[in-house]
């Protein structure tokens, strides 16, 4: 049985933990709002670009001359998994969920006899994947605070990826991140970024752009946009990740605060019981002492 003093110390320690988790929850809530706004602000660009790439790609014939970013290398032997997580923990299952999806897909592809390589953005995902796939890690990036990421950073990562693709390091690249659905749900998502998956063109759009003039030619614009598209997709994924991370962190810290509250309640009851027991013992001693006189 713990002494009264030990219990008191324990209660105080849980109380200060609760204060910390509560503060972290507040911080996450504030950051979440900003990250969510940022994720939404980036959407018009990504949507426009996607629509334009789709309408252009539907017009340009895919042949030997077209960009490998669009047509692929003609093989699908070597897959590169770009796993975007965060550098910091304490965000519930956020990092684990993304890494788990990547691991499951990697196991599937390896079972089919393909080669899988990993390119991690974020220390946490790298740590998890290192355990199983140490020999297939290609490169690891530590982006720091996801909320402060600029487009130029994403551009840098994309340029590196494209250079590796052109050097023949891999045939297909998949991007893993968590889509922000709401504060409570963040969905681990897989997206193929190289070669580009062409989204279907809405029927009405194609007819309108048929009369469009192009400067320079359609092919040249498409080539230019495909490179840009990789960067934009990466940037969007990281923006989504930033919002997801904060959402996940907020939920995790809320749970931790509540748990600490429950624990404090239980410890307080135990503390009061023991105090009562000590008082009773003391009284019994005094009374029996008095009776003995």
């Amino acid at each position: 049985m713990a002494s009264l003093k030990a219990l008191k110390v324990r209660i105080n320690s849980v109380k200060s933990t609760q204060k910390i988790t509560k503060a972290m929850k507040m911080v996450a809530a504030a950051k979440l709002r900003r990250a969510q706004e940022a994720a939404e602000a980036g959407r018009p660009y990504a949507q426009r670009l996607e629509a334009v790439v789709a309408s252009l790609a539907s017009k340009v014939a895919i042949g030997p001359g077209s960009s490998p970013l669009l047509a692929g290398t003609g093989k699908d032997q070597v897959h590169l998994f770009v796993v975007a997580t965060s550098d910091k923990g304490l965000a519930g299952a956020f990092n684990t969920n993304i890494a788990r999806l990547a691991r499951r897909r990697a196991d599937e592809l390896i079972a089919q006899g393909k080669t899988v390589k990993f390119y991690t953005i974020g220390r946490k995902g790298q740590a998890v994947l290192n355990r199983q796939f140490r020999s297939s890690m290609v490169h690891g990036i530590e982006p720091g605070d996801l909320g402060k990421l600029r487009f130029a950073d994403a551009r840098g990562y994309a340029d590196d990826l494209i250079a590796r693709f052109e050097a023949g390091e891999f045939d297909v690249a998949h991007l893993f991140y968590a889509t922000f659905k709401s504060v409570l749900t963040q969905e681990p998502t897989e997206q193929q970024i190289i070669p580009v998956k062409i989204p279907a063109v809405p029927a009405g759009e194609a007819a309108v752009s048929a009369v469009t003039e192009y400067e320079p030619s359609e092919e040249e614009i498409l080539d230019d946009l495909l490179g840009r598209n990789v960067a934009v997709q990466l940037f969007r994924a990281m923006r989504e990740n930033a919002a997801s991370e904060q959402g996940s962190k907020m939920t995790a810290m809320d749970n931790a605060t509540r748990n600490a509250g429950d624990l404090i309640k239980r410890l307080n009851i135990q503390y009061n019981r023991q105090r009562q027991a000590a008082i009773t013992t003391e009284l019994v001693e005094i009374i029996s002492g008095a009776e003995a006189l």
Binding site: P44, R48, V208
Partner: protein, 85 residues
């Protein structure tokens, strides 16, 4: 007669307004876009975007843009740039 003009970067929607004319630095030369311009798509070079709010006014607002493309369709002009300031 006003032209609907949007300037978008990956980070945010920079402008969305009605203007008289915009001069875009295209890869193959600058071009001005007025209301009712024929559908056009062009890549852009790093340079200054000039915005004319009214027909008579010559006080053009300039925004420096880098990398991207411009699209003119029946809804107006959309410029997608990597950086704008």
């Amino acid at each position: 007669m006003a032209l609907h003009f949007e300037l978008v970067t990956p980070e945010r929607l920079v402008r969305s307004e009605e203007v008289h004319m915009v001069v875009v630095p295209g890869t193959e030369g600058d071009f001005g876009v007025l209301e009712g311009h024929a559908p056009l798509m062009s890549t852009i070079r790093d340079g200054n975007l000039e915005i004319y709010k009214t027909a008579g006014g010559n006080a053009a607002e300039t925004i420096r843009i880098e990398g991207g493309f411009a699209e003119v369709n029946e809804r107006g002009l959309t410029v997608l740039a990597e950086r704008a300031e």
